[in-house]
């Protein structure tokens, strides 16, 4: 989703910049995106506490620093967004909120946050990616231990038209070159789906647990794998996580950077605006990795654990969500490119992702 948001952000930023220019020249207000949450928007998905149905979306105006929390309920007559907001994706001014324990995707206007519908019939949905105005894909775990699937969504009717079986716990997905790349939190490969046939075309073997995906400026796919970290298994049998670099033309792994520790956890992956620096969490700290370096950077950029990492493509500021306790609201802390704190603001419970518009 991170790469997807970056891609979206660049597109949106360009669009907004163009719009602003157009405005200042001819003051044509009709071409401006209208809505309370349209301007300078950073949307934050707040997961909420499991079974409490207190997930929420926060809006941060990165121009004037104002924060508006719980915007979905505010704009929709105190309706409940749902239980466990896993991720948000925005496509064509529509926000898609993937509600993991509500078995659905809630669809709202991304500028006004008025509800527009729901995609139901999903089982443990995780992430959403749109191909075009017609079609999107949603990963579904379906169960904890068995194969999951990818649902094909008709964006006009907001219905599932087909499901594609993939590996265990399908997680982030990214669309590149007419193919959907699907990571697995509990698999040893990335599934590749052809968007014409909507069938799995091939799989790319990687280190266990490739949950997070981004694409760099050289059209390489980066996958962050967790390694095997099942708490039911003795820690001596845990395996190290890794960053894998995958050539999207050949669908082959060209480099694997394995983490030093077998037990340290890793997660979250983001890329900067020039798409040449990866940011990820490892052993409770945030690390930065140049895409052209062949060894892992062992010095953290930010000495803090996080629940999410995002990079604002406009400013290159790093946004992190603080580690949650699920009973009080958490914070988003902003850092500059050197890893120094800029400021922070309070959002909802367990901020787990950012959409920069």
């Amino acid at each position: 989703m991170k790469r997807f948001t970056s891609f979206r952000s660049i597109f949106m930023t360009t669009a907004l910049a163009a719009g602003t220019l157009a405005l200042s020249s001819c003051e044509d207000k009709a071409s401006r995106p209208k809505g309370t949450y349209a301007e300078n928007a950073v949307l934050i998905s707040n997961e909420g506490a499991f079974t409490a149905s207190n997930a929420s979306v926060s809006y941060y105006n990165r121009n004037n620093g104002t924060v508006e929390n719980n915007i979905f309920s505010k704009e929709n007559d105190r309706q409940v967004l749902g239980d466990v907001l896993q991720s948000i994706a925005v496509y064509n001014d529509r926000a898609y909120m993937v509600m993991n324990n509500s078995q659905k995707v809630v669809v709202a206007n991304a500028n006004t946050f008025k509800a527009e519908g729901e995609i139901s019939g999903l089982e443990m949905p995780r992430y959403f990616a749109a191909l075009d105005n017609q079609k999107a894909y949603v990963t579904e775990w379906v169960s904890f231990d068995n194969n999951g699937r990818v649902a094909v969504i008709d964006l006009n009717t907001l219905t599932v038209t087909k499901t594609i079986e993939v590996g265990v716990n399908p997680e982030q997905l990214i669309i590149a070159g007419g193919k959907v790349y699907v990571g697995h939190a509990n698999g040893d490969f990335i599934s590749v789906i052809n968007t014409s046939s909507d069938a799995v075309e091939t799989t790319i073997p990687v280190t266990h647990g490739p949950s997070y995906l981004v694409v760099d400026r050289d059209n390489n796919l980066w996958a962050l794998s967790s390694g095997m970290k099942d708490w039911r298994v003795d820690k001596s049998q845990h395996t190290a996580g890794a960053l894998a670099k995958i050539n999207l033309s050949s669908n082959t792994v060209t480099n694997t950077l394995t983490f030093a520790s077998n037990t340290a956890s890793s997660g979250r992956l983001a890329i900067n605006s020039s798409k040449d620096k990866l940011l990820y969490s490892y052993n409770g700290k945030i690390h930065q990795q140049d895409i052209s370096t062949n060894t892992l950077n062992s010095t953290p950029l930010i000495n803090r654990s996080s629940n999410s990492i995002g990079v604002d493509p406009a400013s290159n500021y790093i946004y992190i969500g603080t580690a949650p306790n699920y009973s009080s609201d958490d914070w988003v802390v902003r850092y500059n490119t050197t890893g120094a704190v800029v400021d922070s603001f309070r959002v909802g419970i367990a901020p787990n992702g950012f959409v920069f518009r």
Binding site: N54, N101, T322, A323
Partner: protein, 647 residues
């Protein structure tokens, strides 16, 4: 700020130490006195008042009205306490579990005692009040505030005292009850009793089913459509049996059993997936009691066996908790005339737990010794001094004392004024789940410690048939090493001694009754102001100091009336809970709500028996409310109850 707090802690331990010494000094004096006074005739402790209050001078004990218990016999303890006391009940929807909060504390800070024995589920350290029926229970008393010395583990915020029915009158009696209500609710109950000079026997059984298929606005679905609640069915059944056999004029043997069965579909939160969660609770409680009165006072020995079985399932979980508890409690009470009484006792508990989450059999032994002393230097002044020390291998809690006084300081004919107050300690040792659950169970957890001071003014007025009884109590409580489950950073949760909580507030209550010809009205009022905050945090970023704890309403008000006229009875209940925050930093909340319940009954005399017909309406104003965030609660509901009683 920090220095003040550490000062408080030091002070707390000093006071504990002083009280501890005082109790033992008293004990020495009494031990000597006992030798000289054994020639005096001994009297039952009841001379001092209600049994629950004998050693609780200066504390606030209220009892649920017996006519209320009769009218709402098909209900649960959760509904009764929500309606008639200043306690807050957090209920996970119409069919879900229900937990209680006394004076701002959490569910595990309430001790529930059945005929004097703690019945908390050992795995959770608390009771689900939705599984405790009123049917088969004789009386319900509520001890407000800390009473660790008296009631032991968990009595930090208060205690709920359940007693089996006392049989009134000799001979045979029976009762049949049938009830039908809205949303597919049926209730049947039968009870028989027999009483002679030697033997008292009582037994009752009930069966209940509720579909809870009410309609509500589903805020979790697009457009908040009117939706019929699915998956909220509750089936309950149970048996109680009480037998008391007078072996000799001075000794008795009693056997009591209580079995409850609750099978529930757990209603999901609005917006959450239908996860087909179900819970089956089977609780069997057996006890034998032996009492003997001799020259050295009353001896009571209680032996009990409890079996608590809980089976939770949903689409991705299947968890069984099966725990056997063995308890032995021996007490010796010595009463000297009308001036003092001393009770010493020992309590032993053995838990044998077979819980999937522990990964195998776990057992634990706990012991506690207690001394309760009541002294009335004059008929107008009652003092009590209690002490308890619990022993658990590896994590002994500190001794918990209570010092209380009740002083009738003014007597103006019809008006009586009393000043009362107490200082008391309390404790809660970690539950089996908190110690043994895998992953996350924390064997290093310290016991929670509570400290409370309260003071109140009581006024009674009596003229002719009119009586008015009012009480105002202010309290201040500190609970340290408060345990909460927190994300461990390894993908699972672990309990930690996270903070220190301060609760302070004011409780007002008033009850007026009169008799005017054949009209016997009664009116009660209750109010609680509860301000509860974290004042110190021990771990990292979770601190939300000086903010009201979630699910603690600042204000709760209850109004109730019980009136009788000839063969008619009328009951009315109005309760108001103010806004309750749903997170620690108080950014989200549920709005306050008021609930009104009405019941009208008439008695018909049929031959030797009588038929009581009652028509009840609950949530009369059709209020949409929640006590637990996003859990739909039932709208207006009607119930028709028929009770046939043979005296």
């Amino acid at each position: 700020m920090l220095r003040d707090l550490s000062g408080c802690i030091v002070e707390q331990f000093t006071i504990r130490g002083v009280l501890f010494l005082m109790v033992f000094c008293c004990l020495a004096v009494i031990a000597r006195a006992q030798q000289d006074t054994s020639i005096y005739q001994l009297k039952a402790v009841e001379v001092f008042g209600k049994p629950a209050e004998v050693f609780a001078a200066g504390s606030r004990v209220s009892t649920l009205d017996s006519s209320y218990l009769r009218t709402y016999a098909s209900g649960t303890l959760a509904e009764a306490l929500q309606t008639r006391t200043p306690l807050y009940l957090k209920t996970y929807g119409a069919s879900g579990i229900s937990s209680v909060s006394f004076r701002g504390t959490s569910a595990s800070h309430t001790a529930v005692l059945w005929n004097g024995l703690n019945i908390a589920m050992p795995s959770l350290g608390q009771n689900d009040f939705a599984t405790l029926p009123l049917s088969g229970i004789g009386s319900v008393a509520v001890q407000h505030g800390a009473a660790g010395a008296h009631y032991g583990n968990g009595a930090i915020g208060g205690a709920v005292l359940l007693q089996s029915p006392e049989q009134a009158g000799k001979g045979i009696g029976a009762e049949l009850q049938q009830e039908v209500g809205s949303f597919g609710r049926y209730f049947s109950n039968a009870a028989v009793r027999y009483s002679s000079n030697k033997l008292t026997v009582g037994a009752s059984g009930y069966w209940q089913e509720a579909q809870n298929n009410f309609t509500y606005h589903d805020l979790g679905r697009f457009g908040a459509p009117e939706t019929r609640q699915e998956h909220a069915r509750v089936q309950q059944k149970g048996l109680t049996q009480d037998l008391k056999w007078k072996l000799a004029p001075r000794s008795y043997l009693a056997f009591r059993s209580w079995y409850t069965y609750t099978h529930r579909q757990l209603q999901p939160a609005m917006g959450a997936a239908a996860n087909k969660a179900e819970q089956l609770d089977k609780n069997l409680r057996l006890m034998a009691e032996f009492g003997y009165t001799s020259r050295i006072g009353e001896t009571t020995v209680k032996a009990a066996y409890f079996s608590d079985f809980l089976h939770y399932t949903d689409v991705s979980n299947n968890s069984v908790t099966d725990i056997n508890t063995y308890q032995l409690q021996a007490e010796q009470t010595y009463t000297y005339g009308q001036s003092w009484s001393l009770r010493g006792g020992l309590s032993l508990q053995h838990f044998a737990a077979d819980v999937q989450g522990y990964g195998g059999q776990v057992s634990e032994d706990r012991a506690a010794a207690f001394l309760l002393f009541r002294y009335d230097p004059t008929p107008r002044l009652a003092l009590s001094l209690n002490l308890r020390q619990a022993f658990i291998k590896g994590y002994n809690p500190v001794p918990t004392p209570t010092l209380g006084a009740n002083w009738q300081f003014m007597n103006l004919g019809e008006h009586q004024f009393y000043l009362k107050g107490n200082v008391s300690g309390s404790y809660r040792v970690p539950t089996l789940n908190e110690r043994f659950w895998r992953p996350g169970g924390n064997p290093l957890l310290k016991p929670e410690e509570g400290w409370q001071a309260e003071s109140g003014l009581r006024h009674t007025y009596s003229k002719g048939n009119f009586t008015l009884e009012s009480e105002a109590t202010g309290f201040y409580m500190l609970v340290d090493n408060w345990v909460l489950w927190a994300e461990s950073g390894f993908g699972y949760w672990t309990p930690l001694n996270l903070h220190k909580v301060r609760s302070q507030g004011l409780e007002l209550s008033s009850r007026a009754t009169t008799v005017v010809g054949e009209f016997r009205p009664g009116l009660s009022f209750g109010y609680a102001l509860t301000s509860t905050q974290q004042i110190k945090s021990y771990e990292g970023s979770a601190a939300e100091l000086n903010r009201q704890l979630p699910y603690v309403p600042l204000h709760k008000v209850t109004f109730s009336t019980d009136a009788a006229w000839r063969l008619w009875t009328f009951t009315g209940n109005l309760l108001y809970n103010s806004e309750r925050f749903t997170n620690n930093n108080n950014s989200s909340s549920m709005p306050g709500f008021a609930l009104l319940g009405l019941a009208l009954g008439r008695q018909f005399n049929l031959g030797p028996g009588s038929l009581h017909c009652t028509l009840r309406a609950d949530n009369v104003t059709n209020t949409e409310y929640q006590t637990m965030v996003n859990r739909a609660m039932p709208p207006r509901a009607y119930t028709l109850n028929l009770r046939f009683i043979i005296p």
